[in-house]
Symmetry: C2
Subunit: 359 residues, 2 copies
């Protein structure tokens, strides 16, 4: 079934992803940004937005959708805001670049917002807000995407899975991290269950007529967070992502975007992203911020839990997986291993090395 | 059952709420702010956060929890940020004040954030972000609250219903408005069904042991948005509200707060709020923003719907109710009518007038 997996060291995965992207003619800076975003996501256990995307990205460059050598530009529009033009390159490159500008502005004026125009898929939204958190700042990030999710009371997919990500620094620990799609489950969850011939959980997806289905093979769209009855909440969150990353960037909204998976892989998709960075120390002294965050997280994590469960703070699961994978390596499914092997041949790069984990 | 209701004009409701607050010794500015927030929420159909709260607020002032004559102060901490000290007065007064400061700062520098410390319950979060939207700006607002909601995988209430509100201007229309608790339903929904001896919908609340219950009388806490299985998303959103409005304000987090309903009604609760204001026109020209928003909303509203339903944009339901209530007046349940009559006697103010709707 292609569900067996072997493990690779982070260093080997990085080398392979970078080599493959470079072989497509992607510039060093852009390839480096994509590599960082994909390997970091895989390391945190966000496999849907991890190294498996390399296969798609290579196609997107090869067919011309993604500009391999973008010239990024930043137009500051006020003391605390600006717009990055992604020049139709990889969204990861434009997003790290935008986040770095936003970090600089927020250090100066306490809060900043930087939008990204003419961009493409940026992988896991968490990557960019984490860059701010690693520098002592809180951040919010979002992106639009093509139609996968029913609007509330609708029967046809309209919104994308429109992620919302938020991170904040925690002294002596990995950052607080929320990185979530505004659908109940990601589309990849449906594809995974479809492949395994397993039923869907109730009320996460609908069939062609917009009716909830347990049949992964018949599922045609996702329900927004909240499901059939309370989906107006998830749909509203998806709408907010749309207003910030499509309307306020002047890019197309969900239903106007080319589908990520094609068939058109040669026309730039012109996605938008939106990032906000906040300096907590403009609101209270560092000792109070650190003590307050610590007290909140300690209290949250010590809450009584259901049998066999543990109450976790946002990000805890990801950091736990990251610690494991730093030790054991990044898992690569048998099917992805085959795809990577074939990609290596196609691009004439060293194949991904397996089994020798450096931690 | 106290569910019969009569109608009052907006003007009469305003007069009554303002008179009652003034009679408690609340300053004109503060009473005006509370009146505006409560009547606007009732007008939009957000009855849980509307004029029914007057009964509670009068108690909160009378017992000393809320300072009736607060001296608000604003300490600007950078070009785009600052902190409002609410002086333990009404949260509505401090929040409108904070939002006005944030609006001024965002006009200057494109985006701003203003926190509020030493505050109290602020009613509906939507009120404050709508003030920004009415002036052509987008805004985000949030607040912490005492424990009502299970953490994901937890069995004991921890987070408050921690609302997230977002508004953005729409040319020629009422603003885009999301104003949602991060629980599936509000606690008042449970209380309402309890009073009516009706069962709860599945998986919205839990009993004393943390087990989902359909019995409104046995419900002891709410589930986060996403329910038992996907509640990590709602819980993460509640956590973000907590980080912004409790940790970053230096106020207590959920489990550290005095319960809104008492028994202690004499000690200030020291709530925190957090507001962000964004000027869309720092990201694109007005024509493009307006056209993009219009295209998005038109597309969303024209999506095919389930039988008997209609796909709505965030806020559409509220603006529809507002139009109806501007015509027919604001409904007051029989039980609230009795409480208002008794309040009028207690405070020696003119009772609320019924039946004469000026629209």
């Amino acid at each position: 079934m292609g569900t067996e997996q072997r493990f690779c060291s982070l260093a080997d995965v990085r080398t392979f992803v970078l080599d493959a992207l470079r072989a497509t003619g992607t510039s060093p800076e852009s390839a480096q940004a994509v590599t960082e975003a994909l390997t970091e996501a895989s390391l945190r256990g966000v496999d849907s937005h991890g190294i498996r995307l390399l296969i798609h990205y290579v196609k997107a460059v090869s067919y011309g959708r993604v500009n391999p050598t973008p010239q990024l530009s930043f137009a500051q529009s006020s003391r605390s805001t600006g717009v990055v033009n992604g020049d139709n390159g990889f969204g990861h490159y434009a997003s790290y670049f935008a986040m770095d500008r936003a970090i600089d502005l927020a250090r100066e004026s306490g809060i900043s917002a930087v939008s990204v125009i003419n961009s493409s898929h940026f992988g896991a939204a968490g990557c960019y807000v984490l860059r701010a958190a690693s520098q002592g700042l809180a951040a919010l990030g979002t992106c639009n995407s093509d139609s996968f999710v029913l609007p509330h009371d609708g029967i046809k997919p309209f919104h994308g899975t429109n992620p919302l990500a938020f991170a904040a620094p925690v002294r002596g620990e990995r950052p607080f991290l929320m990185d979530m799609a505004t659908s109940i489950v990601p589309w990849n969850r449906v594809l995974d269950l479809r492949m395994k011939n397993l039923p869907l959980p109730p009320e996460v997806a609908v069939d062609e007529r917009g009716e909830p289905t347990l049949d992964a093979k018949k599922s045609a769209a996702l329900l927004p967070l909240g499901g059939v009855q309370y989906g107006y909440k998830g749909a509203a969150l998806g709408s907010v992502a749309e207003v910030l990353s499509a309307v306020m960037t002047g890019m197309g909204h969900c239903s106007q975007l080319l589908a990520m998976t094609g068939p058109d892989l040669s026309t730039p998709r012109r996605l938008g992203h939106f990032f906000v960075v906040i300096d907590p120390l403009r609101f209270l002294p560092a000792e109070l911020y650190e003590a307050g965050m610590n007290a909140y997280l300690t209290d949250l994590r010590s809450q009584p839990a259901r049998a066999g469960k543990q109450v976790m703070a946002p990000g805890d699961r990801e950091w736990k997986v990251q610690a494991q994978r730093r030790g054991h390596g990044i898992p690569v499914t048998e099917s992805l291993e085959r795809e990577f092997a074939s990609l290596a041949k196609q691009l004439c790069v060293q194949p991904l090395r397996f089994g020798c984990i450096h931690g």
